[in-house]
C-alpha cells in the first residue's frame, strides 16, 4: 500500500492541510498548532512549495535555550530546513522506516516541491487500528479460512 492509497482510504476523516509561512512570527505557528491541534506545520512559500517544517519540538528546543524574546523569532529562524519527505507513491513501509530513522513523527508528502499533505505517526496508527479491527471481524466470520488466506494479512 502506498501513501496516496492510504490517504484515500482515510478520506472518511477530512484532513485540513495547515501550513505557515517562513516570514510569520513563531507565535503564529504556536497559535495555529493549538487551534488545529497539530504537532507540526509544514512551512511553505507563496507558491505552495515546501521550504521547511516547524514542530512542537522546535518550539521547545530552539525557543527556550536562546536568550532573547521568543516573540521576535520568525518561523524561518526556528524551522528545520532539511525536511524528510515522502512522495505520494512511496510505500507506507518506507514512511514508517523514515520516521523511525530520523526520529520524527511527521512526514510532509510532496509532489515535486509542492506539498500535497502531511503524514503523521498518528495517521498511521489510526489506519493500523482500522485495519486490525477489520481483520478481527473477518477472522471471526471465517476462522479456518482466514488462517490460510494471505489477502487479509497484507498491509
Amino acid at each position: 500500500m502506498n501513501i496516496s492509497e492510504m490517504l484515500k482510504v482515510m478520506r472518511f476523516k477530512p484532513q485540513v492541510l495547515v501550513t505557515v509561512g517562513p516570514a510569520e512570527l513563531s507565535s503564529v505557528a504556536v497559535q495555529k498548532m493549538a487551534d488545529y491541534n497539530k504537532g507540526a506545520l509544514p512551512v511553505c512559500n507563496d507558491d505552495g512549495e515546501l521550504v521547511g517544517i516547524v514542530t512542537e519540538r522546535d518550539i521547545l528546543r530552539k525557543c527556550f535555550v536562546r536568550k532573547g524574546e521568543f516573540k521576535d523569532k520568525k518561523v524561518n529562524d526556528i524551522m528545520t530546513k532539511k525536511v524528510a519527505i515522502a512522495r505520494p507513491d512511496d510505500e507506507l513501509d518506507y514512511a514508517i522506516k523514515t520516521m523511525k530513522k530520523e526520529k520524527i513523527r511527521h512526514l510532509p508528502v510532496a509532489d515535486g516541491k509542492k506539498i500535497v499533505g502531511i503524514l503523521s505517526m498518528r495517521d498511521i496508527l489510526g489506519f493500523q487500528y482500522e485495519e486490525t479491527r477489520t481483520r478481527i471481524r473477518y477472522m471471526q466470520m471465517f476462522p479456518r479460512r482466514a488462517a490460510v488466506s494471505r489477502g487479509s494479512m497484507v498491509l
Binding site: 498548532m33 521547545l60 514508517i96 505517526m121 498518528r122 487500528y129 488462517a147
Partner: protein, 151 residues
C-alpha cells in the same frame, strides 16, 4: 497477540523523570539532554503526572508564562491514562487514538515499569504483521505454523 510487555522487552524499561518541584526550565533541559518528548513527574516513587512538549507549547508558550517561574507540578497532566504489561497492543492503539495521546506509562501493582510511545506501538504492529506474513508463507510452503502467531 502482542502485549505491552513485548513492546517493553524490545525498547527497555528506562524512563526519564523529574520532580514536581523542578521548574519548567529545568524540565526542558532534561528533555533536551535525553532527547525525549515527555518526562514522567515522580515524587517519593509515586507517578504524579506527565509533562510533554505539547504541554509546554500549549500551556506556557501560548499563555506567555515564564519557564523559570513555573513548576512542572503545576502544568503537568495529572489525569493519566496508563496500561499494564498484560494489556494488548490493540488496546494501546485505541487509547492513543481515542484520547489523542502519544505516551502511555506502564504500571503494575502501583509500580512504574516503563513508558510506551506512539512510535513503539506503530513499530510493534508492523513487526507483528511481518512475522505473521512470514509464518503464513512458510505454512503455505509446507512448514509448521508457530502457535503464538495465529491470532
Amino acid at each position: 497477540m502482542l502485549t505491552v510487555s513485548d513492546l517493553l522487552s524490545r525498547k527497555g524499561n528506562k524512563t526519564v523523570s523529574v520532580h514536581p518541584n523542578y521548574t519548567v526550565y529545568q524540565a526542558l533541559h532534561v528533555m533536551a539532554d535525553y532527547d525525549v518528548g515527555a518526562v514522567l513527574v515522580i515524587e517519593n516513587h509515586e507517578l504524579l503526572g506527565v509533562f510533554s512538549e505539547r504541554d509546554y507549547a500549549r500551556k506556557l508558550v501560548l499563555q506567555g508564562q515564564n519557564e523559570q517561574n513555573t513548576f512542572v507540578g503545576n502544568v503537568m497532566v495529572k489525569d493519566l491514562t496508563v496500561v499494564t504489561p498484560e494489556d494488548k497492543v490493540e488496546e494501546c492503539m485505541q487509547l492513543m487514538t481515542d484520547r489523542h495521546i502519544r505516551h502511555l506509562p506502564v504500571v503494575k501493582n502501583g509500580k512504574l515499569l516503563g513508558l510506551i510511545s506512539i512510535g513503539d506501538v506503530v513499530k510493534g504492529i508492523i513487526d507483528q504483521q511481518r512475522d505473521t506474513i512470514n509464518d503464513l508463507e512458510s505454512y503455505i510452503a509446507g512448514g509448521y505454523l508457530s502457535r503464538n502467531r495465529v491470532q
